[in-house]
Assembly symmetry: C2
Homo-oligomer: 295 residues x 2
């Protein structure tokens, strides 16, 4: 998965807007996003679009977010909407409707909805249930935050002397995702987990707690994790996980090594970085034959 987290300051000079307006900045981000989609399609199966980087541009950015999802689908890419919403009761249902369910409006089609979203489950089951129901109905999925990559989260996750909060979250995600109507033919649930790779032993222990949970794995690349540290995130058959790289791919044109390979063709730099990323991760996954049979 290539993560699309664009900030205006790091876009190529050619894309910088003339005027510092919300609309101009959103248009620049959208143009950049379209180029990234074209560069990585066919190399990776999915993109993750980080809502925060579009929300900073208010309604203009949010419009670009949804249009980029639709464009990614035209490229044959799956889309993870990285929204990390989490709330209770009726508010949770509204977030699920806005970010995952099939729209009920004549001017908004399924093409602008992501195939999965990230969800914060810290307010309990009702926060997750609304998204799980929307996922089941629409044939989509969700990834619940289980173990963040930021060491700053330890102050929360390690407050209890006896057990880690992320272990408890893993057990809850396993339970919430175990209903028979949430598990597909491939044996994986539509309720997934976001799990950052840390030391191999603790990652393997989490994998054992989550036998039918698909993982979204952050932290590769600019955040420091290498392919080898992602290996315990996969099941024994090489399935059950996707690895995300954001800045190391979309800003490849800032790196001297890619500039030397691709000159000032910044889209070619992104494509080359996506190829390197995919080649680095591919040995962890199933073989092509196994992938065809395990889905």
């Amino acid at each position: 998965v290539v993560g699309i987290d664009p900030v205006l300051e790091r876009l190529p000079a050619a894309l910088q807007p003339d005027e510092p307006t919300l609309a101009g900045a959103a248009s620049a981000l959208e143009t950049f996003g379209h180029e990234v989609l074209g560069a990585v399609a066919g190399i990776v199966p999915a993109v993750k679009i980080n809502s925060a980087f579009f929300e900073v541009l208010h309604e203009a950015g949010v419009g670009a977010y949804y249009r980029l999802i639709a464009a990614a689908h035209e490229h044959g890419l799956l889309v993870i909407g990285d929204v990390k919403r989490g709330d209770i009761g009726s508010t949770a249902r509204l977030y699920a409707r806005g970010h995952l369910a099939t729209p009920r409006f004549t001017d908004a089609g399924d093409e602008r909805m992501p195939d999965a979203v990230t969800v914060a489950g810290y307010l309990g089951e009702s926060a997750v249930r609304a998204f799980a129901e929307a996922a089941r109905e629409a044939g989509r999925g969700l990834y619940v935050l289980v173990r963040p990559s930021d060491p700053g989260a330890d102050v929360i996750h390690e407050f209890c002397p006896d057990r880690r909060l992320y272990e408890h979250m893993a057990d809850l995600v396993h339970r919430w995702g175990s209903a028979a109507n949430l598990i597909g033919e491939c044996g994986l649930s539509c309720v997934g987990a976001v799990v950052a790779p840390k030391d191999p032993a603790s990652t393997a222990a989490l994998r054992a707690r989550l036998p039918h949970t698909p993982w979204l794995v952050p932290g590769y690349g600019a955040q420091g994790a290498g392919a080898e540290s992602c290996r315990p995130c996969f099941r024994a058959d090489g399935g059950g996980a996707v690895v995300n790289a954001s800045r190391s791919v979309i800003y490849a044109y800032e790196q001297v090594s890619y500039q030397q390979r691709c000159g000032d063709d910044w889209v070619a730099c992104i494509r080359a970085a996506a190829q390197d990323f995919a080649a680095d991760i591919a040995p962890l996954g199933p073989t092509a034959g196994a992938a065809a049979t395990t889905g």
Copy 2:
């Protein structure tokens, strides 16, 4: 605080859109929101606008959200943006920029930014720090989720045998908000807490843990809490807390008692419910004289 959580299905018949489009629905919500603002201004000091109810209408709803904030300011109301964002590192900074900081664009002014936002701190200090810095720079505030009103949250908050997660969150919020440059002349920090009233003893214990933390108190009205159960949320001087009512006020026109008082004037029903709410809560707060001296 009156909470603005509008769903299309419950709006007065006169506001229902002709066409089921995102733009039409967002326009109906915005019109309704403007009427609510006019009805409650001068009766309550602030409104809380729940982002989820606008995000369900994608960019059209998000535009309405920001325009309603600006309109509330024209009415002299303070605004709490109920966005419950929480993320780490650079993503947290982007959320803080989009939802609390002064915009850096020529077509977006301070008037469309809320005076405070709700924040999820479950990913640790970096999730909160970005908002606290934005609050300090802009003279605004944040309310970190400490104790949710939903009993479904117990599965998270009571997982540790020795202590409650919400007690731990309270201690963290106290620590995060204690820096000298975050505490104002009134003795309260710009880092607040969302604390639902439950049994009086546990609420009073949380109040003692948070001596200089302003509280946003959910759960009044449609969610079941009465004024008396909110009393332990206030400090001894009657300051330090605001109580929110949403559905019991904005949908007052659905209640027979208000229909009998105000006929089919749905705006008058909302105004009457806001007056009843304010009269019910006022005895908990400071006297008018004390309010003037404690801010």
